[in-house]
Assembly symmetry: C2
Homo-oligomer: 204 residues x 2
């Protein structure tokens, strides 16, 4: 799914989607790029450019049909294509992510979870089985996930990353406060919650 | 704490910090911007420019003294200044964040949590008291936090955001999949975990 959209534009698409979904009623049948821009505090040209990456086209005077634009964004973001994911590290954050209902909106299905702690093996969290980390390869063969969520402590993150890559995972969302090294063919993105809050504090 | 650093550079400082902290031993007494750049897959000029925002200066030939650079980054990011924060929404994610040990590395102290569910009031999570949401203003007056973490469902996010702003909070880290509207003087940043994973999937 390689496309020409810059990642920075791609990152804004869920923002538009969330906003459009938050509107409802007949008053919001049509929405203009200007109205979206104003609501989100962005420039109108930028909004129009971002939305042009999806197949949706605004109509002169009235703008976009809101439901059509939602459908176009969902289509572009692959919300209707089921994507299997695995999760490694069933600590507090891992459990919260397993229980989170928001993934389904993007077609993401966490199929199995893994941990190294014997006390957690065999547990079920939100209907997902916690398996020993040694079974990761078996799980990847069985479910063919492309995505993995890494929610292990910093000290274990690189070795688990290596296991994920060896098993054939192509995209990793890393929550550990560690910069991971992985083959160039693997896309790694990082959510560092504590750093995000520290950066926010720095901006005040 | 308004400074000239672009936010995009600021966002990279914790990445350098994590990397430098992951090194250890006498072999790593000095580190050059080139070595940092290579390890993190960035350009050397960019690294040098980012690091120049901190007071640390590399020395010709040998580079930076690693411990000094760590200290300069920690100083710049305010890791040694205690910053009080409150958390609203003690669901799975809220609980995980309350229990997360990583905030202390950045001097962030979550002092109290709030929820609207009577069943959660009076609970303690990781030593933090869960108070009724009605007590938010009292809590802000008592602890003078500048930061708030918003971990409530999407449907409640805007109204809780309004309460936080009215109570005097200046920075909000929002985990709900909603674009929040707040006064311009308030800095709002968004972590949308499901959207991040969907974007990652789009990049594969």
């Amino acid at each position: 799914m390689t496309r020409d959209i810059p990642e920075i534009s791609l990152q804004r698409l869920p923002v538009y989607l969330n906003y459009l979904k938050s509107l409802s009623g007949e008053d919001n049948k049509y929405i203009s790029s200007g109205a979206i821009a104003q609501a989100l505090g962005m420039g109108e040209v930028l909004v129009r450019k971002d939305l042009a990456y999806t197949s949706s086209a605004g109509r002169p005077k009235v703008g976009y049909v809101r439901t059509e634009l939602i459908a176009a964004l969902e289509d572009y973001l692959g919300c209707n294509q089921r994507k299997a994911a695995v999760l490694v590290g069933v600590g507090g954050l891992g459990r919260a992510l397993l229980s989170y209902g928001g993934f389904v909106n993007y077609g993401i299905d966490i199929v199995e979870a893994y941990d190294s702690d014997p006390a957690k093996i065999g547990m079920e969290v939100a209907g997902k089985k916690v398996c020993p980390i040694e079974e990761l390869e078996r799980g990847v063969q069985e479910y063919k996930p492309h995505l993995a969520i890494l929610a292990v402590p910093a000290s274990a993150a690189q070795s688990v990353c290596d296991m994920l890559v060896a098993a054939g995972i192509k995209g990793i969302l890393n929550f550990a406060p560690v910069q991971l090294k992985a083959d160039e063919s693997v896309v790694v993105r990082h959510i560092d919650v504590a750093a995000s809050l520290a950066i926010l504090a720095s901006l005040l």
